[in-house]
Symmetry: C2
């Protein structure tokens, strides 16, 4: 496994060396984890001109590791009472290794920390490594996809069990907590993001935070959850109707969002432009007159973070590659009435391999519960 991490670091090193920088400092936790196998709280990764170092703000006993750092890395632990910023220490260590320049993550580092780094190593020319690690993270290896697949199975199980229980009269908050308990029961590290349960007028809202509203007969119920498994985060969203017979407007709205989501899924292919996938889903809703009710994006990448590159949005630039896991999650929310969201995690695969691989397999038929 160590080879995987060494390869990732080597690709990043090629990138910043080509830009004329001798060393790089990675501070964003998901990026540290991607390159070092673990990201203890506050830890930063120095890709030095002589040696790579994981600099931690305290011993692992106090800040439990999520996973073990790659053996090929030297771990440098700061004294627990020193109060030093590991990023500043790492810059000093980079200078000590003889580097004349250091690329940092300007999109993550605060102005204050950047200033502190410049102060401790004034001879070090500071550059920007930009989103280079995030770009490396976009295409997943089969090990990573396998973690996502297991996470999706766990989420499917948790959701499936919920559907077998009695829902009427229970609050959004309780249903969300129960789903999160079930995720953990089935082996998740934890929820991938705060579980969203939305009933009645709240249904269909992206990122709705559960309230004390209780499930009622005739409601739409929309649920969005995901499991974290070995650090990897997936997402599934479904909308149900409560009671025996959905109203006509509910059936129509559901069918529409279902068509939009299918169009999005079918547009997933290596080489497809991000914005074209978004347009495929969005167009269906647009032409039905819901342009105003639409969210800013219809999908996004998933991995060590729940919302990573690419963004499937109207202004997004770039094209899909094989082995990129993304969500496809169009929805319509009608203020005061509610709405529908349908959300899957899929992995982009070439046609020859059977096309997009659906990780979240819970049915998308409109179930009346």
């Amino acid at each position: 496994m160590s080879e995987v991490y060494a390869n990732r670091r080597s690709r990043l090193r090629d990138h910043f060396n080509a830009a004329g920088t001798a060393a790089a400092l990675v501070t964003r936790p998901a990026n540290v984890r991607y390159l070092a196998a673990a990201a203890p709280h506050g830890a930063v990764l120095l890709l030095g001109s002589q040696e790579d170092l994981l600099v931690c703000s305290g011993p692992p006993e106090d800040r439990p590791f999520e996973g073990r750092p790659d053996d090929a890395l030297r771990v440098h632990v700061l004294p627990v009472h020193g109060g030093a910023d590991p990023a500043v220490t790492a810059a000093d260590l980079a200078r000590g290794q003889g580097a004349d320049s250091l690329a940092v993550e300007e999109h993550h580092l605060t102005v204050s920390r950047h200033r502190a780094i410049a102060a401790v190593a004034p001879a070090l020319r500071l550059g920007d490594v930009g989103g280079a690690v995030e770009q490396l993270r976009v295409v997943k290896d089969e090990e990573e996809i396998s973690c996502l697949r297991i996470g999706a199975e766990i989420a499917d199980q948790a959701l499936g069990e919920l559907l077998e229980s009695i829902l009427v009269g229970r609050t959004e908050r309780h249903l969300a907590l129960e789903l999160e308990r079930r995720l953990v029961d089935h082996g998740a590290d934890g929820p991938a993001f705060p579980t969203s349960v939305a009933t009645g007028p709240n249904s269909g809202r992206r990122g709705h935070r559960p309230t004390d509203r209780r499930v009622e007969e005739g409601d739409f119920l929309s649920v969005c959850l995901g499991a974290t498994y070995r650090g990897y985060r997936c997402e599934i969203g479904r909308t149900f109707v409560i009671g025996t017979s959905p109203a006509d407007w509910q059936i129509q709205l559901y069918d529409l969002v279902f068509s939009a989501q299918r169009a999005g899924r079918e547009a997933l292919a290596p080489g497809a432009a991000y914005r074209d996938v978004d347009r495929a889903a969005r167009h269906v809703l647009d032409s039905a007159g819901y342009a105003e009710a639409l969210p800013p994006l219809t999908g996004h990448g998933v991995g060590l973070e729940i919302d990573e590159d690419p963004q499937l949005a109207p202004a997004a630039m770039g094209k899909l590659d094989a082995c990129v896991p993304v969500t496809v999650e169009p929805g319509v929310h009608l203020p005061g009435r509610g709405g529908v969201r349908i959300d899957d995690t899929l992995v982009v695969r070439p046609e020859a391999d059977g096309g997009p691989e659906l990780l979240t397999i819970t049915t998308k038929e409109l179930l009346a519960l």
Copy 2:
């Protein structure tokens, strides 16, 4: 209530005006909430030279508000598909109001966002508002303390119920999830931080993340939880012993940590130096030979964030004021054996008002469960 927020903004304005800056941009979410009553996801607050504005990245329907923004503020909503950074828009609006200078939160703003602000408004002199809002937040008003008090009652209730249930054989993760469910049952917005349940050799570790280890006879069980109530976060930690008769080393270690925690609590008074409160608790453990096993701090402020100023630590500068809520949470963890943490949230009060107000009232006797 609007007056409260207007007063807070006015105090901040006095601060940055005195430093020669015409306008300020607040980006740290807890600071936005403190000054604006609400912090929709991604929103920033501009204290302009003519008008105060809450700049949001999307309509409130998509990004549910936690609370409603203060009525005295104008809310500026960016177009949902624009992808603009509210901080950059706010800087542009500050320039439009005729400001020549803008203080930003350099300890929160990333280098990239700072650069984007400088690019959109090159004539604007950018300054640093520093930790000014965090400093305003240290001393709480009675409304804020009342939210903390209710949060502490909720945490006490959740913990009390857990103690009445059967614990042996259950995993740390399940106990943590059950506590979080009970917090919500009793009216919390949610947990104030990830609930920590630590058994046997894990017990006494600060910030331990629950594992699948099951509670066994003879274990120490340490639990740390807190409720968020109307945005305010409190904290309680207790250690119990499982089985009828604690071992001698358990009784001795417990008594020692109890004495240290009591010494810390008794040191809380208006005018007491942060480091003296820390020393009072730390000294008890130090003299018993546990200097190496001690955490970097023995307490910290709580409020809109679970870990805010002041820090009760050896190198902390400053003195306590009345109406500052803090935790007192010394602990000892012996690798391989386990340990003890005892953690309360208290409000500093003058002697004449009865001394420190204990918010978390669950007993600190060593209970055998």
